[in-house]
Point group: C2
Chain length 250, copies 2
Amino acid sequence: MTLKLYVDRMSQACREVIIFCKVNGIDFEEVRIDLSKRQQLSPEYREINPIQQIPAIVDGSFKLSESHAILRYLTCAYPGIADHWYPADLYKRAKVESMLDWHRTTFPRGPGSYFFYAVFASAVGRPLNAKAAARTEKNLIAALAKIESVWLQKKGRFLLGSNQPSIADLSLACEVMQLEGLDEKEHERILGPFKRVLKWLDDTKNAMAPHFEEVQSTVSKAKEKLQKQRNAAGSNTTQSGRKPVLHSKI
Amino acid sequence: MTLKLYVDRMSQACREVIIFCKVNGIDFEEVRIDLSKRQQLSPEYREINPIQQIPAIVDGSFKLSESHAILRYLTCAYPGIADHWYPADLYKRAKVESMLDWHRTTFPRGPGSYFFYAVFASAVGRPLNAKAAARTEKNLIAALAKIESVWLQKKGRFLLGSNQPSIADLSLACEVMQLEGLDEKEHERILGPFKRVLKWLDDTKNAMAPHFEEVQSTVSKAKEKLQKQRNAAGSNTTQSGRKPVLHSKI
């Protein structure tokens, strides 16, 4: 039976699972759970994932949620996945785990709030909030500084000095690339100082071409669509009549 | 060479690593990194963990940070650790991973802020903040409700319906038991409605007796010490002269 992914490409956690499957030739059926319609809260989806979040997978009779857990599972459950994604070696794997866990202990706090208030809110029908974004920006900058100075090293193109990407590269790159929802000037202001991070994002995208860019394009398409809606509704108001509080977003 | 743990027992993430080692008879040296003195930011500790957070371990020449990554590593690196802590079976392990990741995607947001503002702040020299705690309380309650109704099941005393604890039980129990820093009335108000959670906390404590309670006692001792300081300083002011904004805390 084909693997089913319950996802919305507007979510970076969903994008990482879709990209992984595509890059590794895992056949799957994509079932859209539309966040803007709050479909993750429907009784039908509750049967798939009682936690009512996406992504989730159903593989035969096996149900699983949480993107990092899904990535780990897929590397082990499907044959022929290259070792660099989730190394079997005890020490290498432990370092990938440390990277994955740092991502999870760090990003849901400040940076996650920044992404929500500066980029993502409008896509799920909530207002953007420049004040709240500004309040959490310093956490995002601190997290980017740690990626630049600790997790990326002089040797190796990928996290932890590796020459090939792991699931930690894929997941963290999807997280950081939510910033593509910002307009160019803001994107440059936030990410510009982090040269290694920018190069690593490019390297990760290229290592997973063309799938990374294809799946990630949801963000730029949504940004363009919103911009068009705004232009059509008048120069300084959103469709709902609210003044936009940040330049341009997805 | 003996395993070194860089920890402060005031941190729940550190307590889970210490308890795991004690319960499983892993010999270790405990190196205190005093959070109240911000020793995690010292140049010496930076050499151990450039991310400047605790816990971290040094095992021979191998350095590792992030408590979940450390727990996973210890279950594999040390001989004779029972399988239930981190099952080798693909499907059972994936479920434990899902639980660990849910903990990390859920608790750093609202519940983590609640613990900080209502319980932990005074222990690291910052003021408690009843308003901020109240704002994040609903996230904590929602998380407890998910543990009660989804992760704990009718069958089995532990998470995911297991009869023996995994590293996910240990870690999440340490997280939730930060609430022991609250006074009894507040503790009852928050946790009282969650009967399964209360029973699971007891079962987890008992399964890891006497080590769980011994390590966890740091929280109650700190609470008592702070209470005495307050009593000595006068009925309604803290040592710093600030009015306490919540009843009694660690």
